[in-house]
C-alpha cells in the first residue's frame, strides 16, 4: 500500500514540476494578493481632505483650525472664502470634511460661553465619516478645555469647579496603534491558503477526469483510499509551504509581530488543511468539467470568505447569517491565526477552534471520500 501511494506522489510532483503555469498560479497570484491587501486594505483615517472656512479671523479661530491640522488626521485642501465655496468643496468631493468657524466665535469663547463650530461631512463612505467625526469631537473637546483653562489663568478668574467630569482611560491591547495591517495580514494568509489549495485540488482531479487519465489510473492496482491519500497529500504539503511563503512575505513586508507559538499555528494549519482538502475533493466529485469546477469554487469560496469575519465583524451580521458562519472552517482558522500572531495565545484558549476544525475536517473528508469512491465505481 505504502509503495503505491509513493508512486502516485512521485507522479503528482512530477506533474507539478512540468506544469509551469500551475507553478506560476501557485506562487504569483498569492504574492500579488498579499502585497495588494497589505497595502490597500486599510480602515485607518489620516489626512482627511478638509475644506476650511474661517469667518471669524481671530487668533482663536486660527488656533482651532491649527488644532485640526496638527493632529495629522485632517489636511486642508481647500480654503474657502464663502459659505457657498465650503459647501461646494464637500458637495463636489474636493473635500470630505468642511470646518466652518462662524463670525463671533472668539467673542463667545472669551465670554466663557459655548461657541459653535459647524462641521460638514460627506457621509458617502460611512466608515471614514464616522471615524472622522470621532476625531472632530476629540480635537474640538481638547481645544475647548485647553482654552477654558488658559482663559482662567490669563484673566485671573477662578474657573468654576467643573461639576462632573468622567475621563475614560483607554488601552488598546495587542495592537496599541490600531494598525489595520496587523489585522489584515494574518487574515490574508489564511484566505489565500483556502483559495489556492481548494482550487488546485478540485482542478487537479477534475482535469484528470476531463482528459480521461482518471480511467487510466483506475486500471492500475491502486485502491480508492490510496488514490485519495496520494492525490491529497501533495496538496497538503504544498498548502503548508504556501502558508510559510505567504507568511514570510507578509511578515517581512509589513512588520506584523508574531507573538505566539509557531507550533500552535502549525497544528492549526494542519487541521485547517484537512477541511480545505476535503472541500476541494468534494467539489471535484460534484463536477465533471473544469468550467463547472470553476463555478462551484466561486459559489463555495466566495461566501466562505465573506462570512468568515475576514474584514467585517461577525457580531454585526444578521443572526441568520451568523448561524452559517459556524460551518465555515475559515472562521475558526482566522481566530487561530490572529490569536497566534497578535495575541500570542496558546492551546488553552484556542482549543475550541481547533476542535471545530478537526470535526469539520474529518466530516468533509469522510463525505468527500465516500462520494469519491462512488463516483469511481
Amino acid at each position: 500500500m505504502f509503495n503505491r501511494i509513493v508512486q502516485l506522489l512521485i507522479k503528482e510532483f512530477l506533474e507539478l514540476k512540468r506544469d509551469r503555469s500551475a507553478r506560476f498560479r501557485l506562487l504569483v497570484p498569492p504574492m500579488i494578493r498579499m502585497v495588494l491587501f497589505g497595502y490597500a486594505a486599510t480602515f485607518e483615517v489620516f489626512n482627511v481632505s478638509t475644506a476650511v472656512l474661517d469667518q471669524d479671523h481671530t487668533q482663536e479661530s486660527r488656533a482651532l483650525v491649527a488644532a485640526f491640522v496638527n493632529s495629522s488626521r485632517f489636511k486642508v485642501t481647500t480654503v474657502a472664502k464663502t459659505h457657498h465655496e465650503a459647501q461646494d468643496a464637500v458637495g463636489m468631493s474636493d473635500a470630505q470634511v468642511g470646518i466652518i468657524v462662524p463670525p463671533g466665535f472668539a467673542e463667545l469663547l472669551r465670554k466663557g460661553q459655548t461657541a459653535p463650530a459647524q462641521i460638514l461631512v460627506d457621509g458617502t463612505n460611512s466608515n471614514t465619516a464616522l471615524i472622522a467625526l470621532g476625531y472632530v469631537g476629540q480635537i474640538a473637546g481638547a481645544f475647548g478645555q485647553g482654552y477654558a483653562l488658559d482663559l482662567a489663568q490669563r484673566t485671573g478668574r477662578v474657573l468654576a469647579k467643573p461639576l462632573v467630569n468622567v475621563t475614560v482611560v483607554e488601552r488598546y491591547w495587542y495592537n496599541p496603534n490600531l494598525n489595520s495591517r496587523w489585522f489584515f495580514v494574518p487574515g490574508v494568509i489564511a484566505t489565500l491558503t483556502l483559495i489556492t489549495i481548494v482550487n488546485l485540488t478540485a482542478f487537479a482531479i477534475v482535469r484528470e477526469r476531463e482528459v480521461g487519465t482518471l480511467e487510466q489510473l483506475l486500471v492500475t492496482p491502486i485502491r480508492p483510499v490510496e488514490f485519495i491519500i496520494g492525490k491529497t497529500l501533495p496538496f497538503f504539503l504544498i498548502g503548508l509551504l504556501e502558508v510559510a511563503i505567504v507568511a514570510g512575505v507578509g511578515m517581512s513586508c509589513f512588520d506584523v509581530p508574531f507573538a505566539g507559538n509557531p507550533l500552535v499555528l502549525f497544528a492549526g494549519t494542519c487541521l485547517f488543511l484537512l477541511s480545505v482538502l476535503g472541500l476541494g475533493l468534494l467539489i471535484s466529485t460534484l463536477c465533471s468539467t473544469q468550467q463547472q469546477a470553476f463555478a462551484s469554487n466561486f459559489f463555495v469560496l466566495n461566501p466562505m470568505f465573506i462570512l468568515a469575519g475576514f474584514a467585517f465583524p461577525i457580531s454585526s451580521m444578521p443572526d441568520a447569517l451568523q448561524w452559517f458562519t459556524y460551518i465555515d472552517p475559515l472562521r475558526y482558522f482566522l481566530v487561530i491565526i490572529r490569536g497566534c500572531y497578535l495575541k500570542g495565545v496558546g492551546m488553552d484558549v484556542l482549543w475550541p477552534q481547533m476542535l471545530a476544525l478537526a470535526a469539520l475536517g474529518t466530516g468533509l473528508l469522510t463525505i468527500a471520500a465516500l462520494r469519491f469512491r462512488k463516483s469511481l465505481d
Binding site: L130, G134, P162, F298, P352
Partner: protein
C-alpha cells in the same frame, strides 16, 4: 463586416448559451448571491460589541453606568468579571472586545470632587472595530456624565459653567444616517459586472481552443472583428440584465437611496461592461486554457475591483504608489460614478472626468482586443 455572417454566428452563440442553462443560471445567480451576501455581511456599522465589565465598586452609580452600556444597542453586556485575569482571559478568547473597569471609590470621587475615571480595555486586534468601539464607549460615558451634571445642578440649583466651550454641530450629507449599507451596496454593481463580464467571456474563447472547435470557426469566412462582436454581444446583454437585477435589489430590497438618473447609470454601466468584456476576451485569446484564462481574468478584474476601486477601502488612505496604481483600474472610475449617482444624484456633467476616463479605457481595450485575435492556428 457582413450582416449575414454575423447573424449566422450570433445564432450559433445564442443557441450555445441557451442550451447550457447551467451557465446561464450562474450568470443570473451571481448578482443575486453577491448582493445578498455582501449587502448583509459587509457591515461596518459596529453593533452589539460584546463587552465585559469589572465593577470594583458595585454601587448604585457604577450599576447606572453599566446599565447604560447594556441599554445601548452598540454594546451587548456579556459578562461581569471579577479580576483583571478574568478580563484578560475573556479578551483573549474573544468573549468580549471591550472591558469596562470601574475603580473602587468611583462614586465617592464623583460626589466629592465631581471627577471620576473609568478604564476601557479594548481588543485592538480588529483595529477598525476597536476604534469605533472606543468612540461609542466615550459617548456612553459622556452621556452618563452630562446627565449626572444636570442632576447635580438641579439639586444645587446653581448656574452652569459650561464644560464644552466649543460646540460641534455636525451635518452629514449624502448618507445622512451613516449607513454602511448605502456605502457598500452601490459598489457591488461594479463587482458583479466585473465577475460576470470578465469571467464568462474569458471562458468562451478558451473553451473553443480547448475543444478544438476554434479550427472550425477559423475555417469559416467570418472576420476576426465579427467574431469578437458576436462572442461579446450576448454577454453584454447578460451584463446589462445583471446590472438591472443589482439595481432593483439595491433600491427595493436594501432601500439604498437612488438619487440620480437611470440613463446615467446604464450609460456608464455599458462603458464599464465593454471594458471588462474586452479584458476577458483579450485574456482568453492570449491564454487559450480555461483555468488559466479564468484565473488571470480574476486577477485583472475582480481583485482590483474589490481592493483598488474604493469599493470598501478608501483610496486616499493608501500609500502613494498604490494610489497611483488605482488610476489604472477602470473600476475606480466606475465605482466613483456609481456612488455619486446613487447617493449624490450626480448628473453626467458633474461626472465628466470619470466618464471620460472610462470612455478612454473602453476605446483602448476595444482596439487591443480587436487586434489580439488573428485567424491563425500557430
Amino acid at each position: 463586416m457582413k450582416l449575414r455572417r454575423i447573424k449566422a454566428i450570433a445564432v450559433k452563440e445564442s443557441l450555445q448559451i441557451v442550451r447550457d442553462p447551467r451557465s446561464l443560471m450562474i450568470a443570473l445567480l451571481i448578482p443575486v448571491m453577491q448582493m445578498f451576501m455582501l449587502g448583509y455581511s459587509i457591515s461596518l456599522d459596529v453593533k452589539h460589541i460584546p463587552v465585559c465589565a469589572y465593577d470594583r465598586e458595585a454601587s448604585q452609580r457604577s450599576q447606572d453606568l453599566l446599565a447604560r452600556f447594556a441599554a445601548s444597542h452598540y454594546f451587548s453586556l456579556k459578562q461581569l468579571s471579577h479580576s483583571y485575569a478574568e478580563i484578560k482571559r475573556d479578551i483573549d478568547d474573544g468573549t468580549c472586545k471591550l472591558a469596562i473597569v470601574i475603580p473602587a471609590g468611583f462614586s465617592q470621587g464623583l460626589s466629592d470632587a465631581g471627577t471620576g475615571s473609568v478604564q476601557a480595555l479594548i481588543d485592538g486586534t480588529d483595529s477598525n472595530t476597536a476604534n469605533i468601539a472606543a468612540n461609542y464607549a466615550r459617548a456612553v460615558i459622556a452621556g452618563f456624565a452630562s446627565d449626572l451634571q444636570v442632576e447635580t445642578i438641579q439639586r444645587e440649583s446653581g448656574t452652569v459653567q459650561t464644560l464644552t466651550p466649543v460646540d460641534v454641530q455636525a451635518r452629514v450629507w449624502f448618507n445622512e444616517d451613516l449607513e454602511s449599507r448605502n456605502f457598500i451596496v452601490p459598489g457591488i454593481v461594479a463587482l458583479v459586472m466585473a465577475i460576470v463580464g470578465a469571467q464568462l467571456t474569458s471562458l468562451t474563447i478558451a473553451r473553443e481552443w480547448e475543444r478544438g472547435t476554434m479550427e472550425l470557426l477559423v475555417s469559416t469566412p467570418v472576420k476576426p472583428l465579427e467574431l469578437m462582436l458576436v462572442k461579446l454581444l450576448p454577454y453584454f446583454v447578460i451584463g446589462l440584465i445583471d446590472a438591472a437585477i443589482c439595481l432593483a435589489l439595491a433600491v427595493l430590497w436594501f432601500e439604498v437611496p437612488f438619487r440620480g438618473a437611470l440613463a446615467t447609470l446604464f450609460f456608464t454601466a455599458s462603458l464599464f461592461l465593454i471594458v471588462v468584456l474586452c479584458i476577458g476576451y483579450y485574456v482568453s485569446v492570449a491564454i487559450r486554457s480555461q483555468v488559466g484564462a479564468s484565473q488571470i481574468a480574476l486577477m485583472l478584474t475582480m481583485l482590483p475591483t474589490t481592493l483598488l476601486s474604493g469599493f470598501t477601502f478608501p483610496i486616499d488612505q493608501m500609500p502613494v504608489v498604490i494610489r497611483g496604481v488605482t488610476y489604472l483600474v477602470s473600476a475606480r472610475y466606475y465605482v466613483t460614478i456609481l456612488k455619486a449617482v446613487f447617493l449624490k444624484g450626480a448628473d453626467v456633467a458633474e461626472l465628466a472626468v470619470p466618464i471620460a476616463c472610462l470612455f478612454l479605457y473602453a476605446v483602448v481595450l476595444v482596439l487591443l482586443a480587436a487586434r489580439a485575435f488573428r485567424k491563425t492556428l500557430d
